[in-house]
Symmetry: D2
Subunit: 364 residues, 4 copies
């Protein structure tokens, strides 16, 4: 399916960094969902670069919905969102040496040089604005069913944020923060480290931790379309994500079964687990506990330090100094994208499980 | 697609732990691929439990291919493999308390109690035998195109194996070992730790590291069907896998861009990278370097220590002591499954890129 | 997806005419559906050749379900059905001249000569036995929701059967008949014509007409996954089907809009149409009226008259006299297959619309 | 996949009759294909209503491509085309009685009244402009590989056009005609009949016949993804198409096998058939002969004659007189849409068979 994701609720992405418009088509949404344009705008604002720790490129992100919404609600037919690219400065970019850590060389190989290379073209993080707009509609709809999503910068430049301790209040707090941390002193330390990296012409990476509350039990498949498999498939589309773990994740390697297993207890007539090392998923299927997952975001590959590379056109070794506007870290911006793709993937699983109208159905 | 994975090369799984037969259907294989039944048998042997560190359940794994092979080669039409379950002792299992860390409760919720609960039913690791048989055919075919896959137990019970240093020789070595480590002294220490866990009635987890050599550049899609996304989607079907990382993976969190970026240099007229922190993938697309990824395998949830849990049928709290035959670790057995699902997922991406016959085409 | 059809309810086919077993995997069935093995057997009997108007090949069709059923009900996990091939006489077949009207030449071209050519291999009508077994389970489940399917031989060898006039009684009658016609005198005339064709070494074609009663309104999509599109996609897999029409079908060409439009009237508080030229579908979506469609089945290509053809292996012109066992008509056997694939396709659309459990849910 | 069609080459549609813009996203096109905007414009012109036999609505169809094209060629990444709706007169439409033969009632049922009902909303034939624009790019690309597509009005209002007799010249002729017939005297008679129907406030239907030349042999799958199945799935999205037949189609019902079978002969070292009753497809797979298929297009449901219907909102019987701008026939406009969806579906099958770059590869 290539640039389309999902089965019952699908999202199709298009656009390039320096093209006239980028966009997304979301299909399969239940009819009658309220579409809150202010909320979409607020999510796009959170994705946008801010201050000294981000690229100087400023986009107004004046999205417009051209189909699938009528009188403020989803119609159930494909919803297309377009976002114009206004502040493009193509002069900054020319086909030249492949930027290490970027898709320049792989795009050149796959597309035989026909790709739009300007600003990374279709590979640009810019395209995530369309994902965020699409995701915002779904995030709002999930809220209507009591399903809440939030992500914090769990680690950046070697500094750890505080863990989730107060759900769902933590999520509410995060969703209003431009730099999403639970402990603001740690957030300040991270931002200082990002600025220092920027000053050196370098960049830093980090880890995002996401919680999804209110996910019904019994969603997902035992093989292949496991909740982990479907979510990770989507999450690796968030640019720079190179690892995804659920629950205890890689820490399971050093745990024993007696510690790793989550004991079950009855609570209010429902089974719950007293720990959540499995991140709300057993055998690929949601168990009703919070979904917990973490994504690692690699350091922004665009750095201004000199780098060794090749020019694919000429097949010659060369040295690269990247100019233009770049982020010394993207982990704090990526969290909005992580929320968005997670929401889209979960909406698809829920629609497959409970039917196409479920997301707009009254609470049980 | 549920229990089917893939687009051009697909695999469909079926079967339960205590049913008469399990199996897989592989469709979309290029016609004319040699089918080496001895190789399939050898892969099944490597998956089978061995000695004191594994379950006492012994299956002969006498597979038979009932379609899709004619005169020793693939026909190009669906290839069905069946493996009988012989050594089933259903008396060991009854519907009872949900085993913590297992799919018992989620299966009960999803299937409303109609699931075959015996031995974990369709969720059993037993089903992976069919995946391994299917994967063996594809692994052989990939070899024919110079694409080699191998996995070692990179960490188990807190003990690290040596890293890959001598590719492709390391892979050849691993593929003949029942307990796949690069440093056999470390392997012995791991097995000792597994036995000690077993003696305590407990279990341990670990990390698998996989290398794929010879993967052509230019495979994968920029969004959604990234190489990472497609591989991880498949890998999370390997029972107990709870995290997947590519290249430096979670270590990217503490790296700077200047270190994380892989410099490019020309070698034999082709661009190569002088490091491989990105694990052979940039922008979702293979770059021609070795694919490198790691999966964490949680400790086997079946332990004989007493555990707190609930009985979903009665909705009551209870205490569970698991009897029956179980593995104190599965990381060493899972590596064959990891190879298999990776091979199936890559074969699909390759067929989409280069056409349905590519896998059987003569070398360029 | 190749030999897999469907999205939420899927069917995967495998097997060859002269292999050891053929089979189907049905995935995504709601858990808890009764599986009536006698009903499956009775449907297989109706598909089987009977008497002088069919091939002398006799198969017992002793199917076995190896997964997905537990204590007489579907589990919700993949259901695999296997049917052994017993009465194979491979001596009748060798790779030789391409049989005109068959897939011999196209299979040779697509699979480069690696296909199992014996008895048509994977292209054989024999494979439909697995479809019929799979379909039987779904047909029964649809009955449980008040959705009834039946097909009659509307035309054969130039003879028309009576039209549907008494639904649902007509369907009940058809489902018990080995040669499904509404007017038995027409049925006798058809059978006589088939025997006469057989005596001449020739074969005849026909038209099947299907009615589906009780289909809920609001199922299907406006573009691409229209009810017509999804059904026809599946129906063209019934061997020898070369045309599919809905409602008035090709007769629309000579109608005016004032006649073709189906007037709407309220009946028991629901809108109904007073005619049904649109076959129960408007804009790709079911309208609650009976689904009506017709499939043309071409004359069996296996005839014993001498035919001009080529030998793909040698690239030479030649003359062919087909020996072996063949049907002088298949239209009367194909009707069971039409019912089956229609049931599978509709079950998929219904599950996508109303959720994975709908088929097993209690009546509203 | 709902409003997305295809696997390797996909098309996603969006938009409503009276929304600001409609559009399509085509993904999976080979990189480097020339994009001829004049040709796209000329196809859109052929789709547009013309003269007295069509609606008075005039759209300039000023499409713009916002992604996926760079320096005049496809990039290989998603290509989005947008077409603004300019001449919308929403005042003509209000939610009211369901128009018989239209999707009004089914849309209301499926979308619970949240659909954009103005001018048929997402169900409007207007949306086909986006399909035509998308199809034009693919038609041009297929031409580059020697694959030619053309459709004529084979029958309209009871008048038959001449059959194809001079291929490929016939196709070239058709592609330049606003009203595509092979015999212009028949075309004039059809147009007269259409005008007469319009004068009566009524409408007429017809049959479209399509030929595809140069299709390589060996494309398509034996089950489910047969060429017939995939094409028909797409063709039933052309509004008003209610039947699709291949080769002799429904005429097979009255043929004998000895007449229906197409004899094979060697010609220029390739097997060809001396007749083409199978329409270029055997066993679901192309045989290298021209693909031939016919679609029936029902009479336009929008007529100005008084009709009996219901108002779904009130649940009351009522009488409807449709005002606004409507086509007394759409068969002549639909042919461009048929070409387009056929091209998209075939491009997908070809890319699956021969690889993602095939369409842009130099001739063999």
């Amino acid at each position: 399916m290539k640039n389309t994701f999902g089965t019952s609720v699908t999202v199709t992405l298009f656009g390039e960094s320096h093209g006239p418009e980028i966009g997304a088509v979301v299909d399969g949404l239940a009819p009658g969902l309220p579409v809150d344009e202010e909320f979409i705008a607020s999510r796009l604002t959170l994705r946008r670069p801010a201050g000294r720790i981000s690229t100087a490129r400023q986009e107004e992100d004046a999205f417009r919905i051209v189909s699938g919404v009528f009188e403020g609600r989803t119609t159930g037919t494909p919803l297309a969102i377009l976002i114009p690219n206004r502040d493009t400065r193509s002069g900054d970019y020319q086909r030249g040496p492949a930027r290490p850590g970027h898709a320049d060389y792989t795009a050149y190989t796959k597309y035989h040089g026909f790709e739009d290379y300007r600003g990374g073209g279709h590979f640009s993080g810019r395209i995530t604005a369309a994902l965020v707009a699409a995701g915002a509609i779904v995030i709002r709809a999930l809220q209507g069913k009591g399903i809440l999503i939030g992500t914090h910068v769990a680690r950046c430049a070697g500094i750890d944020d505080a863990p989730f301790t107060d759900l769902p209040a933590d999520l509410e707090k995060l969703n209003s923060l431009p730099f999403a941390v639970l402990d603001e002193t740690k957030g300040q330390a991270m931002r200082d480290a990002i600025e220092q990296a920027a000053a050196r012409g370098d960049s830093v990476g980090g880890i995002l931790e996401t919680a999804v509350l209110g996910m019904p039990a019994g969603v997902g498949e035992p093989w292949f379309d496991t909740v982990e498999g479907v979510l990770s498939h989507a999450l690796f589309s968030v640019p720079a994500v190179k690892g995804v773990e659920f629950g205890a994740g890689f820490a399971f390697a050093d745990m024993t079964g007696s510690r790793a297993n989550d004991p079950l207890r009855m609570k209010d007539s429902h089974p719950v687990t007293t720990s959540n090392h499995n991140g709300g998923i057993n055998g690929g299927i949601s168990n009703g506990m919070p979904l917990l997952f973490r994504c690692v975001v690699k350091p922004t590959p665009s750095i201004s330090l000199e780098q060794q590379t090749v020019n694919p056109l000429t097949g010659e070794n060369t040295v690269l100094e990247i100019r233009g506007r770049h982020d010394p870290a993207i982990v704090h911006r990526a969290r909005i994208v992580v929320d968005s793709v997670a929401a889209l993937a979960l909406a698809d699983l829920l629609a497959l499980r409970f039917g196409a109208d479920w997301l707009a159905s009254p609470d049980d």
